[in-house]
Amino acid sequence: MMNEQTDRRNFLQKSLLGTTGLTGIGASITSTGSVTAETVSQAAEGEIRDEVDVLVVGGGTAGHVAAIQAGRNGAKTLLVERGAQLGGMTTTGGVSFPGLFDAWGKQVIAGIGWELVKEAVELDGGKLPNFAKVPQRHWMNQVYVNQFLYAILAEEKCEQAGVTIAYHEFPASVEKTMGGWQVDCVGFGTRRRVICKQIIDCTGGAEVVGMMGFSRLREEETQPGSMLFQLGEANNPGRHQLHRLYVHGADSSNSRTVTKANMTGRKSVLAKLRKEKKRLMHLQPEAGFRESYRIEGETIITVNDYTSGRVFEDAVSNAFYPVDLHTKNGVKPKPLKRGKVPTIPLRALVPKGSENVIVAGRCVSSDRLANSGLRVQASCMGMGQAAGAAASLAAKKQTTPLKVPLAEIHALLKEHGAIVPVKRS
């Protein structure tokens, strides 16, 4: 093994020396005699074809949890992520305090998301909040995680669950088939055709659901995104929040809007840096997005459902956070009344009139104010696990998520540590 590595290193070094010694890249490629542009293209394309039970699109806060749950349930699972790591807002966005897992003195969200958060904190020598303690302000029981560590752990748990990860890829087209979907994904140098029984759309803005032609909801003016950075002092991951600048108009819908948001955010950071004359110590690679599209589901969670803590008949997970709508003027969170714990019904994860597709994350079917609380990471993790459970069971039973008996979904969720809402009589 060591020899192989040494040989490979030597080979690379020699190749590099060889190219620098020649007049140009073209000449170096030609000089090898074995690699041409044509053969590289063929090697990369070969149209990779995957047949899986569950395709999870988006490896963010909900997506990696959904994939792990599906994988642990024995479903052959492929996770496609447009970026270079898992974790989404927790990691790439830098919002490494993934929401609230507790409410009113007890834990209300657990399962795979919590398992990851807990392990990340413990491995990092961090501290978990005491849920018996009354938070003086709504965010005080946030858990701080080391974003870098979290991304690696999420990847490890996916692999352990048998999930195949495909970074730098995204669906270009989706077609309905007899038993599910055919999805063509593209990445740089890669084209992948995926034949799957179930799709879990965890893209944040329900981009796959949009491709399928199902109805989505969107506000004229969406909440600002945030670019996170650190000026003047070193970033201390897993201990403190980063500095934040609003990116108004930040939109995660496609590569063009994401490019624009990131460039706008970086320009703002640069302007601040010049003004304050401090060193830039840390900058997230991407802005954090709060709002784009939401699905129109089989039911819509209203703000009244949310604030009253309605326990839906088909509730699959809990959520907890104040109503938290960010505007141009900032945010004034409206905490939930004592004892209230909102729930998420399975029907809010299923696009209206659809089969064999389910969503998880901030695109959950909800009105705008309810969504401003539901979009927070811990709740998205809960949704992710529920979607993973429903989709993998549906794949096994050759049916659609809404036709899977709720009791079986609940049982699977409980088996994997999730907290399932209980209808109070």
Partner: protein, 300 residues
């Protein structure tokens, strides 16, 4: 027909009783300035007032002839005018009088009233003509009127910083209020400013109660909290804290306070800190000290 004059002994006795009760009334009045929420002092002053009024009645009856003489005296009218002027001034309390009364205790009896009865406690706070706050606490089954629990009432801003104590407890035994109040005192000392003008020691905005209670710019006001800490000294249970959030942008006339938790000491980085914890099995009869607490805010 000759009118019967009161006997000398009766006249002297009445005069002396009037004078002595007046002394008690005056001393208890001055004491009430410094101890506005002392049940003993306020009770003494109020009840002695009734005795004094009765004695004045007898005194006037005993001296009716002399009093008639006063009616023709210019001094009576001058005295009446002066007394009326003081009476009106002290009743309507223009700003200078309010400032003077503000020196009383923590806040000044001009703005606050505290009453206690078998049914409960009533606390009134009226910092302006257009703003009246009334907190009615109905006592629970564990409340002992003979040995009443200690109570503190205070306001906190959204950052959970103490901004104003409305009712200072007598003695010790309310650790959470003491911790919060001490933090405020420390912030004042650090800021080196007056109590009502402390600002900037935290990122949580102003410490000036007026900015929350009667904000100049109501549209941009932030909610604040009213808290009660209550503790029965002779039980071995922790004190309890009840709270309600007040939002001038979303005003409610009536709001019920909710039980928040019980305080427990924690050391943070070697420093003493008190946090609230959700009520668990360690709390028993203390939960019965208060039946309910209703906050009424009349914004005219």
């Amino acid at each position: 027909m000759r009118k019967t004059e009161p006997s000398g002994l009766r006249r002297r006795t009445t005069s002396l009783l009037t004078a002595l009760s007046f002394v008690v009334l005056a001393v208890s009045g001055v004491l009430a300035f410094f101890l506005p929420f002392s049940i003993e002092v306020v009770g003494l002053h109020a009840l002695m007032g009734f005795v004094f009024v009765g004695l004045i009645g007898i005194h006037l009856f005993n001296n009716v002839r002399a009093m008639k003489g006063y009616l023709r005296s210019r001094a009576l009218w001058v005295s009446l005018a002066i007394t009326s002027a003081f009476g009106l001034l002290f009743y309507f309390q223009p700003a200078p009088i309010k400032s003077l009364l503000g020196l009383s205790g923590n806040f000044g009896p001009a703005m606050e009233r505290f009453e206690m009865s078998e049914d409960g406690m009533v606390f009134q706070y009226a910092p302006a003509a257009e703003y009246r706050m009334e907190l009615r606490v109905k006592t629970g089954s564990a409340y002992d009127l003979q040995n009443p629990p200690q109570v503190a009432i205070w306001l906190e801003n959204q950052g959970a910083y103490h901004i104003k104590t409305l009712l200072t407890p007598e003695g010790e035994g309310l650790p959470y209020w003491e911790f919060k109040h001490a933090g405020w005192e420390r912030a004042k000392a650090e800021a080196g400013k007056e109590p009502d003008a402390v600002s900037g020691p935290t990122p949580n905005g102003s410490f000036d109660p007026a900015d929350y209670i009667l904000p100049a710019d109501a549209e941009n006001s932030t909610p604040y909290k009213l808290l009660i800490e209550i503790n029965q000294a002779d039980n071995d249970q922790s004190s309890l804290v009840y709270a309600v959030e007040i939002d001038n942008l979303d005003p409610s006339t009536y709001q019920l306070l909710e039980l928040v938790g019980y305080p427990k000491r924690e050391d943070e980085d070697g420093k003493e800190a008190w946090s609230l914890f959700y009520v668990d099995a360690s709390v028993g009869s203390a939960l019965e000290l208060i039946d309910s607490a209703l906050l009424m805010i009349d914004r005219r």
